[in-house]
Amino acid sequence: MAQTMTTEVDDGKVRNDRSKKDALLDARGLTKRFGDILANDRVDLIINKGEIHALLGENGAGKSTLVKMFYGSLDPDGGEIHWDGRQVEIDNPAAARDLGIGMVFQHFSLFEALNVVENIALALPNPGNMAELAKRIEVVSRDYGLPLNAYDVVADLPVGIRQRIEIVRCLLQEPRLIIMDEPTSVLTPQEADQLFLTLERLAGEGCAVLYISHRLEEVKRICHHATILRHGQVVRECDPTKETPASLASMMVGADVAAVSASAQKPQIGAVRLGLKGLSAKAATPFATALNSISLKLHAGEVVAIAGVAGNGQGELFDAISGEMPVASSMIEIDGKACGTKNVTWRRRQKAAFVPEERLGHGAVPGMKLSQNIVLTRHSTGDGLISGGMVSIQQASVMEKRIKQAFDVRVSHDDPEARSLSGGNLQKFVVGRELDRKPGVLVINQPTWGVDAGAAALIRQAVIDLARAGSAVLVISQDLDEIFEIADRIAVISRGYLSAAEPAADMTRERVGLLMAGGAEAQGEVA
């Protein structure tokens, strides 16, 4: 997440003029810090009884952190929470449940081998008689329009029904506040409509709902009030029914910030180095996104950025380009050579380099030393790391020192395990490991995710310098500040569709926001 834009003016901040007498949950000055990152910075939030309250923000804005403090899975570093007029400390999820706070998670915590009633019984403090519980489940679920068969085995149920189980599990505990984290991301439109009816009914009964979603249309449709987080701070509160999706998007991404120009140096555009031609792939798992006929030409000398909300196919696109997910041969070309079926090693030998989103466990092996992590991606790129099948530890440690120095990677002792580095330092190392090769094509997913401002600036500069030296760089990012800072052209990915890449100078945040909220999809379908 970029923290370079700390000078923005809080002109959008609206004083909370809603009556406080109905306040159910009143958070004052909640602060949470993770290492160098201030995830929540003096957040004030009031949720009234019977209110569907939207919590909006880009990825990394601090929504999950805030919600976890309400649900007792994180301890705040500062600030206080008032519940029904009394100050409380929520030490753990059980304490949250006792207060009447229920949570429906984005990814379900259900045991597939068990049936509905067993799963629910496991989560209740006093489940009582199973047959009675089963009857209660069927009554309550039908009552709220989310009918369930108590004895269905979870493994046989579709995602929409699984979510019902989670919701009914919450309802059985008679919650006064339900927190929902992106509940519709796994639902069909019809299932979502059903859910909205249930939420409206709950609100009518006085239950409050804290609703986290990226789908601005549905926020506008069902939410009574919205709080917008950005870089860990509340930047705005509004009545979403009086806004448009575009205006909500611009509040999230901070359109009030003056756009930064791409780069002082004008790019010398050369030949196409990376070509995507009708790249399509089916979703591998229920949580994955299918790629739909993505086309893009990436030229030597330019930085193209792909914007988009998390989970819209960025990871799948990265895996397809890197070769971890094979596709049809003609769909991907590196320097004119079709390579959709080739593996990642073959592509690296074609002078392509890749930096995945997840540093630990994908870009680097957590329990291995940095020198060994160099072998991870450089073993077959002609760096003299392997001779006769043997790994040259000497050469690896020479390279480790060189990369540490060039990219200012700060470590506590010589050649530590990757897991011991801070996020920013590890990212500098992982990026440095690839840039050290002077790759012809660089694909980098979330280059400065969770990285402190200094490291982020260094990485962005290095990426621009690489492009200006004749390489082609594809940056996948959710950070619009970053995208406008470094990109020559910008495309937007939404639900696995990619909009046409347009010059950054012609792009506005509003337009990017609209493309994110489904415009890219419409464009992709037409194309």
């Binding site: 409380v88 929520i90 030490d91 690296r348 092996v365 099948g389 043997m390 897991r419």
Partner: protein, 362 residues
């Protein structure tokens, strides 16, 4: 007070070495308590179990003889476990390898020349590898759980052995005893150092050393370790998880099969209904106690072999059931795995925070 496990920033090198030692000490303590409860003097029993076998030449040799198959199987299993492939069926691969290796001297007893023994060893390794590839192929093709399939195949192999020695492979001149014919000299692994040990011990040590070098120095060894720790990073490095599953199972099976053949050809000299006192299962403990490192496995194999000899010693001297050996082996695995927690975690005592909320019963 509450005890919390806090993740360390890096693996603790000290705990990596100390963990098996602490585990052995805790096992001895637990064994002492078991002896005490069953009405024996724990000190004498522990002495007879752990120390006395080391004081005599013959029992020392018997220990090394028993350690040999454990080390060889343990080395193969280490490759599986390092790469996150849970091969629990080494016992079956040991038996099937022994069957494959014995086919030659049993079916063609007249084939006696210098090629007999090498051919037997090759067949033995091949048989073990084939048996191990069954769960590996099932895992890579159909996503089955290799723990279950490899374990179940142990019983298939064991019943197959039982059928063969009672049926088609029974010694025609053996008075209907369930055993195969005695192997010819050409099919017998020569003894070394004039004692109880056969050539299998030096062969095993050499294989362990080579494997240690492969794991520590080569790209293949690197691949194995990366895949075990982080499969996603492994596939980012261009390694294929499926191919490595096949490779590690085949290697572990080959080494177990080789151990089986050497056991039959070196010590027993014939096939019997029971050719293994559970070597394939005990080798799992050996692999973990030895830190999945071939040098460590050599030491661990010796410690576990001691439990077989010690079990017999306390049975004959004190009348304790020799099942105590299995109990102690189980305790040892339990303590090793428990102590290994502290390689990546440390203990922190936390005083309970006073809660201001209305959460009295939480």
């Amino acid at each position: 007070m509450r005890i919390e496990l806090v993740k360390r920033k890096e693996h603790s090198q000290a705990m990596l070495l100390l963990s098996p030692l602490i585990a052995v000490a805790l096992t001895a303590l637990a064994a002492g308590i078991i002896f005490l409860i069953s009405g024996h003097n724990p000190l004498i029993a522990l002495y007879k179990f752990f120390i006395e076998p080391l004081t005599q030449q013959w029992s020392l040799e018997a220990t090394i003889d028993k350690a040999t198959p454990l080390i060889l199987i343990g080395c193969g299993l280490a490759v599986c476990y390092l790469s996150n492939n849970w091969n629990i069926g080494a016992e079956g691969q040991f038996i099937f390898g022994a069957l494959f290796g014995s086919a030659l001297p049993i079916l063609y007893p007249d084939f006696e020349n210098v090629a007999t023994l090498p051919l037997m060893l090759v067949f033995g390794a091949l048989g073990g590898a084939l048996w191990a590839l069954i769960p590996a192929v099932l895992k890579t093709r159909f996503n089955t759980n290799e723990i279950l399939t490899s374990l179940m195949l142990v019983y298939v192999a064991s019943l197959l052995l039982d059928y063969l020695v009672r049926g088609p492979w029974r010694d025609p001149g053996g008075y209907n005893f369930p055993e195969s014919r005695i192997f010819s000299d050409a099919a017998t692994l020569p003894d070394v150092f004039g004692g109880l040990m056969s050539l299998s011990t030096p062969i095993t040590i050499i294989i362990a050393i080579v494997l240690a070098l492969v794991l520590a120095k080569t790209l293949k060894g690197f691949e194995i370790r990366v895949m075990g720790e982080s499969p996603r990073a492994g596939s980012f490095a261009g390694f294929s998880a499926k191919r490595l599953t096949l490779f590690s199972f085949a290697l572990a099976g080959a080494l177990a099969g080789l151990a089986g053949t050497m056991e039959v050809s070196g010590g027993l000299n014939q096939l019997l209904p029971t050719i293994s006192p559970g070597y394939g299962f005990t080798a799992i403990i050996v692999a973990f106690l030895g830190r999945l490192n071939p040098f460590g496995i050599i030491v661990a194999g010796f410690v576990l072999a001691l439990s077989y000899i010690g079990g017999e010693a306390v049975q004959s001297a004190m009348g304790v059931s020799n099942k105590i050996a299995s109990v102690i082996q189980g305790l040892l695995l339990f303590f090793v795995l428990a102590c290994d927690t502290f390689i990546l975690y440390r203990i922190r005592m936390v005083s309970r925070r006073v809660t201001a909320g209305e959460t009295s019963h939480v």
